[in-house]
Amino acid sequence: MINGWLLLLPIGIPWLGCLAVWLVGDRRPRLQHTLAVIFSILAGVAGLALIPWSTQRLTLLLSLGGIFDAFRLATDGLSVFLTVVATVIGSLAVIFSVDYMHGEHSLGRYYAFVLFFIGSMSGLVLTTSLLWMFVFWELTALCSYALIAFHNDDPKAVRGGIKALIMTQLGGLGLLFGALWLYTYTGSYDIPQFLGSPNSVPPTVLSWMAFGFLIAAAAKSAQFPFQTWLPDAMEAPTPVSALIHAATMVNAGVYLLARFYPAFEAVPGWRFAVMVVGMLSAFLAALMALVSFDLKRVLAYSTVSQLGFMVYAVGAGGVFASQFHLMSHSVFKALLFLAAGAVIHALGTRDMRQMGGLGPSMPFTHVVFTLGALALAGIPVLNGFWSKELILEVGLGHGNPTWIVSLMILSTGLTAAYTVRMVAMVFYGRGHQDHHEAHDAGTAMKTALIPLAAGTLTTWLLLGPFYASLKLSLPHHKLELNAVWEEAVGKAGVSEWEMTFKVGLEILREPSTYLVLLVVVLGVAAWLGRARLASLIATFRGVEKAAQASFGFEAINEVVVQAVQRAGEALRATQTGYLAWNIFAILLGWLVVLILTMLGRAG
C-alpha cells in the first residue's frame, strides 16, 4: 500500500512546484527559474520511478464518499509510458525555458501553468476513473488555453487561446456524455471494468459513446474537422508548443482512443470512421505544411499530420503501433520544436522567408534540428522510421481498406517533402545580411536538446520492452505485431531486447518497407527538383491556394463565429445590465416553471 502513494508523486510534485513558483512572486525571477527546474526534474524522476511498475498493477484508491467516484490511480504499461513522456519532456521543456524565457515578465504565471499542466497530464493518464479522467482532461485544456494566451497583450495570442479552449471544450462534452452514460448503465466510472465487459452497456448507447469519444479525441488531438486550432495555438511560447502542443496534451486524444479500443472495436463503423479521420488529418495537414511559411505553423501542421497517423493506426487495429509512434513522435517533435525555439529566439522572427543560411552560425541547432527532421521524414535508423513502418504494416494487414493506406503512404511522401523544404529554408541557401550574428543555443537550451537528440537516435530500441510491458499489463487489448513476427519473438527464451532486433530485421525484410522508402525518396526528390517539375506544380496551384486557406475549414469556422457574434449583438438589447431586471426575469422564469408543472400535474 505504501507503494500506492508513489502514484501521487508525478501529480503532486508538479502541483506543489506550481504553488511554490507562484508564491515566490515575479520579483525574484532567478529563484523562480531554479524552483521550476528543481520541481520539474523531481517530477521527471518520480515518473521514471514508476517504470518498474509498468508490467504490474500498482493501485491507489482514495475514497471520496458515496456520491462521487473514488479517486483511483493505477499503473499499466500505457499509463506509465505516458506519465514518463509527460514528466520527462516536461522537465526538458522547463530547462529549455530558462534560456528561452529569460527576462520575460510574469514568469510566475508561466511556470505555474507549465507545472500545473505536467501534473494534470500525469493524472489524466494514471487515473482509472472516467469521471476523474474528464476532470484532468479539462484541466489540461485550461492550462493549454492559459499558456497559448500567455502573451495576453497580443490579441492574436488571446484569440488563438480562446479558439483552442472552445474547440477542446466542445470535444470534452463527448467525453463527459460518455462518462455519464457509462455511469447511468453500469453505476460506476471504472474504466478496466468497462473494458472487460463493454456489453454491460446497450449497443446503441455504446456506439453513441464510441462516437462521442471519437469527437473528444479529434478535438483534443486537433484532428479533422477540428484541426484549425492547433496552428493558431502557435502563439504560445515555443517550449509550451513543444510540451503541450506536440509531445503531450495533443496525444491525449490518441491515448483515449487506444485506451478504449477494446470496448469500441466491435461498434459498427467506428473503426472505419477513426481511420478516415486519421487519414484526412494526415493528408490535408501534410499539404498545408507544404505551403506554409511560418516555421512553427509548419511544425504544427506536421504534428496534426503525425497525430493523424496515430489515429489511423488505432482505427486500423494497431494500438501498439500507434503508441510506439506516439513515443517516437513526442521525442522528435519536442526536439524539432525546441530547436525551432532556439532559432526563433536567436532571430526574433518565425517567418522562414526571413531565415536561410543559418547552418554556419548555429552549428549545434543545425545538427539537432536536422536529426529531428530526418526522424520526421522517416529516414532509417532514426526512431520515426521504425514506428511509421509499423503503422503502415498494420494498415496493409488486417483487411483494412487499401485506398486509405495508399493515401497514408502518399502522406509519408508529402511529409518528407515538407521536411526537406523546412530544413532547406531555415539552414541552407542565401542568408540574410542581418542574421549573421545569430547566436547559437544557450547552455540550458543545449541541456534540453541533447537528451532529446539522443532519444531520437535510440528510443526505437525500446520496442521490445515496451511491447512486452503493454502486452503484460493490458489484459483487454489484443495487441498486434504481425502474426509471423509474433511467432518469431514469442518463443521462450527470447529476451525483450532481442525482440527489438528481430522485429527490426523483419521490418527490413518486408517489401512494403522499400515501397514506403521509395515514396519518401520521391518526396525529397520532388522538393529538390521542384524547378524541373514547375509545370507539374503549376497544375497544383489550386491545391496550394486551398491548402493555404486550410481547405475552407477556416472559412466555416469564421462563418460560425460571425453567426454567433451577430446573434449576440441582437440579443444585447435584452441585457440592461441592471440587477433588478435580471432578478425579475429569473422570477418570471420561476413562475413559468411552476405554472407548467402545475398544468402537467393537472393534466
Binding site: 471520496l64 464518499g65 456520491i67 433588478a580 432578478i583 425579475f584 418570471l588 411552476l594 402545475m598
Partner: protein
Amino acid sequence: MLYALIGVGALGCAIAAVITKRLLLSAIWLAFTSALVALEMYLLGGPFIAVIELSVGAGLVTVLFVFAINLTGEENTYHSPSVLKGLALGCLLACLALTGYWVLPPTLVSPSNPDTQPLATILWEGRRLDIWLQAFLIFAGALTVLGLLRSAPQETSHKEENPDGLP
C-alpha cells in the same frame, strides 16, 4: 406555538433589515434574524448547526459587514421606482404562493425514526470530497479577498478625492 413566535420574529427582523435606510442598522437586523433562525434550528433538533449559525452567521458575518460598512462609509440607499417595486412584489408573491401550494400539503409527513447516522460520520466519511472542496474554497476565498483589497496604483486618485470614503 413557540416555533411560530420565533418565526414571526425572524420575519419581522428580516423586514426591518430591508426597510431601514441605514446600512449599519440593516446589518444589525440581519444579525437578529440570524440569531432567531439559529434558535429555531436548535428547537428543531439541530444543536450543532444552531451553534455554528449563531457564531458564524450572527457573529462573524456581522463583524464583516460592520468592517465593510466602515470602509465604504454610510451612503443613503435609494430604492427603485415604485413601478418596479410593485411589479417585483406582485411577481414574487405569485411565485411564493404557487411554491407554497406545491410544497405545503403533501410533503409534510410526521417524522419517522430519528437520527440514523451521527453527524460526524456523514460529514467526514460520506461527503469527503465536499470537505476537501470546502477547504479549497476557503483558501480561494481568502486569496480573492487579499487580491481585491490590495490597493491598485490607478485608484489612488479616487481615494485622495474622498479620503475616508465618507460622503
